[in-house]
């Protein structure tokens, strides 16, 4: 697509936020604590995601060290173990993947891709970020106060009611979800309003880039799912602190009600985490194959169908919770249905590469890795969707292997693909290509070594959330822990790459990827100026 626009001033955004409107240069507090700029807020979110990833990652390194040998003594307290695994799950989901993909890349690139000067509600955007930051403090309090919130990220009562999880830790963990939830909900409203109302003239919905579509569908999922989580969390807080018995059998309540409410949110949540990654992969595959995406309309419909069907499959997380046989049949079939649009996307990516002229730069490696590993994770998902098999596999390491394949390899590879693709546009400095590839391969080997053996542990019957296990499980646990050491070391390589990026003296052109990059962010300088598209471009 082509457009006409007035020049945006090619000023590095980190040096000087001055522009033609005569504003004085904002101070640090105004720029970073009171931002109304989608790029700066995107940067804040990416920074939050980095901190969240390091924290959640450190927790997982501790967990894998404990599991490296049976009868290990790294963590000697069951309460500490439960608090660590709970915080690991919550932090990775709400303070790493979501802020990176939605708050970070979404904020940075959706306005630019649709030719809008900013988000529809810039102040609301800022509020979303600071709610999330406060939530991070709360979830850390949930980890550290007393014996810690220890019911797992799924927070099922009765274990986390007032009797069995007394003290403030669980309340802080629950409030952290309220804060993260409000953050996401307001952000979703912002994205929907922006995408529906602020596209440049000529950019119809079906000319919109696929990353924007992915964020739009994600925003609708958030809009509808977060309030249900908020309801469940509020009911639990009330049971804990105000004597209600929503989930207390003695008072007429039912613990399984929480599971329904939680997973009604929880299942769309996993699509919330993966859809933006789908969007990024589409952009990267297209750019580095130098071809437009194959079957754009099919891709759009696939994402919409995944989002829609994702709302009606929640009880596949509850196959052993006492739902009826008929319910098990329904939820199995509905869950399997999602495999079809997902397959459409995978085959479309391959068809995009087919006939292309593929360059295997670092972002493309991450995208290709995503496609292959997500297919493996999806395959184990198909296995688990069978309620009869899930009776054997629920809550064991096969499940852990499945969701880490789609998250630590799916969503995380999507995050890295976005980082390597867009860091030059965001910072004005490029990453070193050699070290980018080293990071990719070392992380690839690390995560596969960590999680592939966990399929075997699950089949052999090892339950999840265990700090110690029968000696027979020691072999594969050792291999898995070695893998986590490798991925931990690979993250050090990533830190080095960050240093190289921010100390690089290289100047980058507007479009440093070439003909394959056709979306609007490549028509503005690198780094993108503080304000872009203040004059509305016209799309032909």
């Amino acid at each position: 697509m082509s457009f006409t626009a007035h020049d945006d001033h090619a000023l590095p955004s980190d040096a000087h936020a001055h522009d033609e409107h005569g504003h004085a240069k904002p101070g640090f507090v105004r720029r970073w604590l009171m931002s109304t700029n989608h790029k700066d807020i995107g940067t804040l979110y990416i920074t939050m995601a980095f901190i969240g990833a390091c924290t959640g990652g450190m927790l997982s390194e501790i967990m894998r060290q404990q599991l490296m040998y049976p009868h290990n003594t790294i963590i000697t307290s069951g309460a500490a173990w439960n608090a660590i695994i709970t915080a690991h799950g919550l932090i990775m989901i709400f303070w790493f993947v979501m802020p990176a993909l939605i708050g970070g890349f979404g904020n940075w690139f959706v306005p630019m891709m649709i030719g809008a000067p900013d988000m529809a509600f810039p102040r609301l955007n800022n509020m979303s970020f600071w709610f999330l930051a406060m939530g991070f403090i709360f979830v850390l309090l949930g980890l550290t106060l007393g014996t810690g919130a220890g019911a797992g990220w799924t927070l099922y009562p009765p274990l986390d009611n007032a009797q069995y999880s007394p003290g403030l830790a669980t309340d802080f963990a629950l409030f952290s979800l309220h804060l993260a939830g409000i953050s996401s909900l307001l952000g979703a409203i912002n994205f929907i309003a922006t995408i529906l109302n602020m596209r440049a003239p000529g950019m119809t919905m079906f000319k919109m880039p696929l990353f924007c579509w992915s964020i739009l569908v994600t925003a609708f999922l958030l809009l509808l799912a977060i309030p249900v989580l908020a309801g469940a969390v509020t009911m639990l807080i009330m049971d804990r602190n105000f004597g209600t018995s929503f989930f207390e059998p003695a008072g007429g309540g039912d613990p399984v009600l929480f599971q329904h409410l939680f997973w009604f949110f929880g299942h769309p949540e996993v699509y919330i985490m993966i859809l933006p990654a789908f969007g990024i992969v589409s952009h990267v595959v297209s750019t580095f194959s130098k071809k437009p995406i194959f079957g754009y309309l099919g891709m759009v419909y696939a994402m919409v169908v995944i989002g829609f069907v994702g709302f009606v499959v929640w009880a596949h997380h509850m196959f052993v919770s006492g739902i009826s046989d008929d319910s098990r049949v329904y939820f199995e079939v509905a869950t399997l249905v999602i495999a079809v649009p997902t397959g459409v996307k995978v085959f479309s990516w391959i068809a995009t590469m087919w006939g292309g002229s593929i360059e295997f730069k670092t972002p493309m490696l991450w995208a290709i890795g995503f496609i292959f590993l997500f297919v493996i994770g999806g395959a184990t998902g198909v296995v688990l969707a069978n309620a009869g098999l899930d009776q054997e596999l629920h809550n064991d390491y096969f499940l852990i292997a499945h969701f880490h394949y789609v998250l630590s390899m799916g969503a995380t590879f999507g995050v890295f693909a976005g980082f390597y693709y867009w860091i030059g546009k965001m910072s004005g400095h490029q990453y070193p290509e050699f070290w980018g590839k080293v990071h990719f391969w070392s992380f690839f080997i690390g995560v596969n070594l960590t999680f592939f053996p966990q399929h075997f542990l699950g089949l052999a019957g090892m339950p999840r959330r265990y700090p110690d296990y029968p000696d027979a499980f020691a072999g594969w646990n050792f291999v898995s822990s070695v893998g986590s050491i490798i991925s931990g070391l690979s993250t050090l390589i990533f830190f080095y790459i960050l240093v190289r990026v921010f100390t690089s003296k290289q100047k980058l052109p507007d479009n440093y990827w070439g003909d394959g990059a056709t979306t609007l962010e490549w028509a503005v300088p690198s780094p993108a100026p503080h304000h872009t598209f203040e004059d509305v471009p016209v799309i032909r």
Binding site: S289, W354, F360
Partner: protein
Amino acid sequence: MKRAFLTVFGAVIMLAAIVHAGYAQTSADPTAAANGYVNAPRPWQMWFPAAGSPMQAQIDWLMKYVLWIMTGVVVFVAILMAYVFIRFNAKANPVPSHLTHNTLIEFVWLFIPTVLLVIIIIPSLNLIWYEGDTSNPYMTVTVTGHQWYWEYNYQSVPGLDYTSYMIPDDKLLPGDIRRLSVDHPMVLPVGEKIKFDITSGDVLHGFYLPSLGVQKYAIPGTIQTSWTLINKPGIYFGQCNQICGINHDAMPIEIKAVPLADYLAWTKVAQSNYSENNVSPVPVTSPAEQKLADAAVSK
């Protein structure tokens, strides 16, 4: 007369001695028949445990069926991708095409996955109904999860209701398996359909028997049912599979399956022993942890 009396008396004594000896023989260990076969996890195990029940055998079969299909899909995708990388990399194909549509292929990749899903679903539904059919059991055991032990109540044996604690690491005897062996296993007859009524006395627990294909949450205020039928005598293990607090990993399940006659003999011994609270549970927590648990609960 005296001789006759002494003979009869001696015979009665001998008879009593024989019967008593015979009784003592079986009551010494009515579950001995289970000791010949232990179904426990093996080092480097890569598949399900050997199926101890028809249900697990069916799960095993369906798993192979689905995995073969999904492995085929993954390999197919891998081959496509490898071909694409070799044939269409920038050196091999410097000029990209502009192909973005092909109605036939788009139809094919909608249709074939749908067919594969139907192929998977048909046998899978049968398994759901099979697992859910708890009708006509030979006997029922009420299984209650507690923090952090199991309680087994044999509904057809009045008074037989006892607790089962993991044997702590420092009290293991030769032949015990660390983290799996318990003080009082559940004893069940081989070859009979056994229904489990599963509930909890406090928080959620998971009653999980991988070698028998059984798994259900233990939910306070509800009774969930599951069933099994154990193929042959032996020792079978399970573990708690829903996070339940600080000793979630320390409440395993051990089942001793014995021939029906031995099981019936055991119920008589157990009835008299357990119902008089002759057996005291072996606590799993160290004194320090127990203090912590007590402090947490009493707050």
